[in-house]
């Protein structure tokens, strides 16, 4: 079991190392002649006005909240799905009630207009 995670760890290091090495080697081969105009922020030839790191309205933060609900739901549902074959009908019905409550929550969010993109 532990060696499984050792393999995953090694794989993670290797898969981070390969693109990093490629980018590093290409950096050695590539020319380096920066100048002010070349390094300017690209905006279709216009000069950029102000910074991009400003406060603004993230339109989708309600989507993010609904997503959070469903993500947590799946954390509960996956153990249930693994145990499904050993379960009685009662256990299945309980999970179905759980899913139906979430479906109700989705319809509530829908009615409240949380799922509209403005």
């Amino acid at each position: 079991m532990l060696s499984n995670w050792l393999y995953i760890g090694i794989f993670m290091v290797v898969s981070l190392f390969l693109p990093a090495a490629a980018i590093f080697i290409a950096g050695l081969l590539a020319p380096k002649k920066p100048n002010a105009i070349k390094n300017a922020t690209y905006e279709c030839g216009m000069e950029t006005v102000g910074d991009s790191w400003i406060q603004f309205k993230a339109q989708y933060y309600v989507f993010a909240l609904v997503f959070l609900v469903f993500d947590i739901e799946t954390v509960f549902l996956f153990p249930w799905a693994v145990a499904y074959n050993q379960m009685t009908l009662f256990g299945v019905l309980e999970a179905i009630v759980f899913i139906l409550i979430l479906l109700g929550a989705l319809i509530y969010a829908w009615r409240k207009g949380a799922l509209e993109w403005h």
């Binding site: 794989f11 590539a30 145990a83 899913i99 989705l106």
Partner: protein, 409 residues
Amino acid sequence: MTFWSDPDGFLANWLIHLLAGIGIPAGVAQAIGFALGAAILATGSLLFVLFLIWLERKMIGRVQDRLGPNRLGPWGIFQSVADMLKIFTKEYITPSGADKVPYNLSPILTVAAVLMVWAVVPLAITVYGVNLNVGLLYIIAVGSLGEMGILMAGWGSNNKYALLGAFRAAAQLISYEVPMVLSLLIPVMLSGSLSMTQIVVKQDIWYVLYTPLAALIFLITSIAEVGRAPFDLTEAESELVAGFNIEYSGLKFGMFFVADFLHSFTISLLVAVIFLGGWRGPGAETYPLLGFVYLVIKTSLVNSFIIIERASLPRFRIDQMMDFTWKVLTPVILILVVVTALLEKTLVMAGALAWVRTGIMFVVNIAILLIADTVVRRHLARRPRPDVRGKERPVARPENFFSQPGSGA
């Protein structure tokens, strides 16, 4: 144990014995074996991208009545090698306002997030990186690392187009993750395991026959997760010039490109493994390499479907795209999970055979798909269409179409 019955174990044993022969302890030898295996798998899949890029260009060329690349090598197959060599010698242009750490980290992270999926996918009966007992959860978790990379690219570039593209990408990816994860519940329910190898072993009948609707929803949402047409709003050329990767150049841009193609192949692989029976096929148990060939064929079919679909469909608008996942896919997959859970349990208690259950579930799935389709069509027909005409513009309307103004004719 011979090479033909267990190639992976045979090579691993041979390596460990070889290393033990020169006095390296077994634990270290195993770690070295792991590192070599990981390096071979990761490098192999990265080099495979060169072939994938050629294949996609060739197929899209055919769809659009062109030849596609045809100069370098037979059928132009070395075109991507030449492209790669060229991109290696391109200058890195870092915008002066960029936040260096996320800017440089994000291409690496984007590729790594896709590569790490390959660690748990079984390529044949004994050939897999690792048989993790929570493999499916691991794939979901690692897959969502990619959106971190996109957000870092958008934020780090300090460019307004890049930022907008990244926020669109985040909204799209989190929205499509909900139906994708829910559609994976059904294979887990049927196989009773989260391990990828177990899911393949349990597929005496392919799950695509048992639950075609879940397979379809998984395919659609996976395409959206990759950000391919018709869901390629993150890099909409006509609106955001290139989206989150606009400020990247040279191989840093190339890495986003590689991640895109590799990701699309990886989701084809996942569809093949989870729904199309993976390496299962006649004779695959005794000869694992034959199973590998079956898997490659199934994956290529799904990948070809994705390429042709990319060439044939127009892009969604962003509100249509969000509506599609939250108001169509999510309710449908929730209802499908409920129906499958109830029906499967009842049928098993009634003692129905596997083939009978599959037939009933197939019909039920198609019925749900048709009902959902009808409901959506009715709704769209009833909704008033907004009038999108602009204000009247002066248009040149010559009285005689064949005369040029001022020509005297």
